[in-house]
């Protein structure tokens, strides 16, 4: 065997390596084909039909009617509205809170940093269902701690969080605070990559803490903030579990939690309108793609890459 390889040309070695490589890649290649590429294309095809799993034989070509329906569908408009409102309320928190926590647990003045890092991260390990239950308890308008604290400290009557359509999105945002662990860890890693020489230099120049943050820290971690922003925006379109549990899968109260993804689920799996469901999915896909491309286009303006990219 060893003799043979020595005699064969480099071309054959390359062929052998390719064969081995493809063998190892094959689980993913196969999976990509079966579970990603084909379903994605099939989904596009379904979006031009009126497929209903109860009557699979009655499937017929529907042309662009599903897409035309988007423009007249009030629920679609509502779902987009809820999702965008949630983006506006929650995305700033999804950036600022993990960044603030990362700065805190990165501070040289915090005693017991490692314990803090662990404990701030820990709640993101709690299953979403439990997360929702605990926060619903905390925000229960009568027995919860939050409203009791509000009335005790500030003397105000807290709102009816999850039952009030004006307060349910802020309530979900507040609940999301428990899930910032990942973002915090990633931002912390970014902060630890800031070269200490830069801090020392800025100290010599007499920069204050805030100036240092603004002109040294922020530019260097801006790629990470950018990455988190992309994730948070994509995540909002896929927001589902919390909305489903809070609203019993119906978008309660009064449609104020009818997130895009929840509407998609209802269309496809409650009303079994899978053709239109596939349309909604593709619209989401295109929207996510456009947002990502848009953000990547604008990033030269505000994201700083060391090494002059």
């Amino acid at each position: 065997m060893a003799d043979k390889t020595q005699k064969t040309s480099g071309n054959n070695i390359q062929k052998r390596e390719t064969r081995w490589g493809l063998l190892f890649l094959s689980p993913w290649l196969l999976g990509f084909l079966i579970f990603t590429l084909l379903p994605t294309l099939a989904s596009l095809a379904f979006s031009f039909t009126n497929y209903n799993p109860l009557h699979p034989d009655q499937i017929s070509f529907a042309g662009f009617s599903n897409y035309a329906r988007l423009f007249t569908d009030p629920f679609f408009r509502q779902a987009i509205g809820v999702t965008l409102r949630f983006v506006l309320i929650s995305v700033p928190f999804a950036i600022i809170i993990p960044l603030g926590l990362a700065l805190l647990v990165n501070s040289e003045h915090l005693l017991g940093k490692n314990i803090y890092r662990t404990l701030f991260f820990m709640p993101s390990m709690i299953p979403v269902v439990v997360n929702v239950m605990v926060w619903r308890g905390i925000m229960n308008s009568e027995t919860g701690w939050l409203n009791r604290m509000l009335s005790f400290v500030f003397g105000i009557d807290g709102p009816n969080w999850f039952q009030d359509e004006r307060w349910v999105l802020p309530a979900l945002t507040l609940m999301g605070v428990w899930g910032v662990g990942n973002a915090m860890i990633i931002m912390l890693a970014g902060l630890q990559n800031v070269p200490t020489e830069l801090y020392d230099a800025s100290k010599v120049d007499g920069a204050t803490g805030i100036q240092r943050f603004r002109h040294v820290t922020l530019p260097i971690i801006s790629p990470i903030i950018f990455y988190q922003l992309v994730l948070a925006l994509i995540g909002s379109f896929q927001y589902f579990t919390q909305a489903y549990i809070v609203s019993n899968g119906r978008g309660d109260p009064n449609g104020s939690t009818m997130f895009y993804n929840l509407y998609l689920y209802r269309t496809a799996f409650n009303f079994l309108d899978m053709g239109y469901g596939a349309t909604l999915a593709w619209v989401m896909f295109v929207a996510v793609l456009l947002i990502t491309i848009f953000l990547f286009r604008t990033q030269q303006r505000w994201v700083y890459y060391a090494g002059g990219d």
Binding site: V130, T143, N248, M274
Partner: protein, 358 residues
Amino acid sequence: MASQTLGAPAKPRFQARLRLRKLLPYIGISTVGLVILLLFLAPLGYMSLTAFKTIIQVRDPHSQWLPSSPVNYTYEGAEYPLLMVPTDDDVRELALVKPGREESDYVDPQNPELGVFTVVGRWRTFDPVYELNPTTDNFPTSWEQVNLGRLFRNTIIIATLGTIGTLLSSVLVAYGFARFRVPGISILFLLLISTIILPRQVTLIPTYIFFRTIGWGGTWLPLIVPHFFANAYNVFLLRQYFRSIPRDLDEAATLDGASPWQVLWHVILPQSIPALIAVGLFHFFFAWNDFFEPLVYLQGREDLYTISIGMTQFNNIFNTQPGLAMAASMMAIALPLIMFFLAQKVFVQGIVVTGVEK
């Protein structure tokens, strides 16, 4: 430093102040940190305390933090509530025997032989006396109501099989990406990474129809089998890790006649234990948490439900019974939290690799 210019007697005090000034940021930041941490973890405190409360304790208008109940005092065969009654010089704990509007009759449990006496003051404005009275009933009750034992078993089976699948497949694929020169491999890798931003709803409907058609609807197979085909995050994490292992080692093994399988098994894997643990844990947590897929594929098969959808079913009952909900919650998070505390280091490292390096 400036202290040298000062006179000798002032020096110690100055140094003390200097030390204080150095300490001040530590005290300040640590205090702020502690307050934020307490607020952050307050819901866990709520959960732990509420889990030990009865429904009456939860609804108590006097809202005790701890699971405690009003105390009664038995006097001549009847029970009377104990109240904190302000008297001339202090507050005494007295049992309310006969409530009246402006004045009421009390008995003092310390000296019951004094008999019943009257104190002026509206009894409704006096606080009841509380004593700690936690209940553990919520745990067995919610365990049975939600059938937590079955939910745990189902979730653990699904999570374990999926973890095996994702480890096996992701290791192979990552090894392929890390070590083999295949034409167009960088394009394939880009394709792999780009699947991260593909919303899973796009593939959902055809995949659902596919699984239903081959008879997998209402089984665990759709929740397990796809994980035997690798996923982008895990492959990425493992590939980064494998690439950090020096190639000389596998080249030496290859010269000794080791096949790529043997190199993977004897050279690469023994050095990648932390990454393997991280991937395994990621998947385990994913499966423990997954909601969408069990919801879609296990609809109507209650006996197959996982923790996340099983507990949601009881959402409405739980909403009126916070004690039960919190007891069930505590039991549901015990295992993930223990696992997290045991393996937090590799875990956090894994997040940094997949998050920062993209």
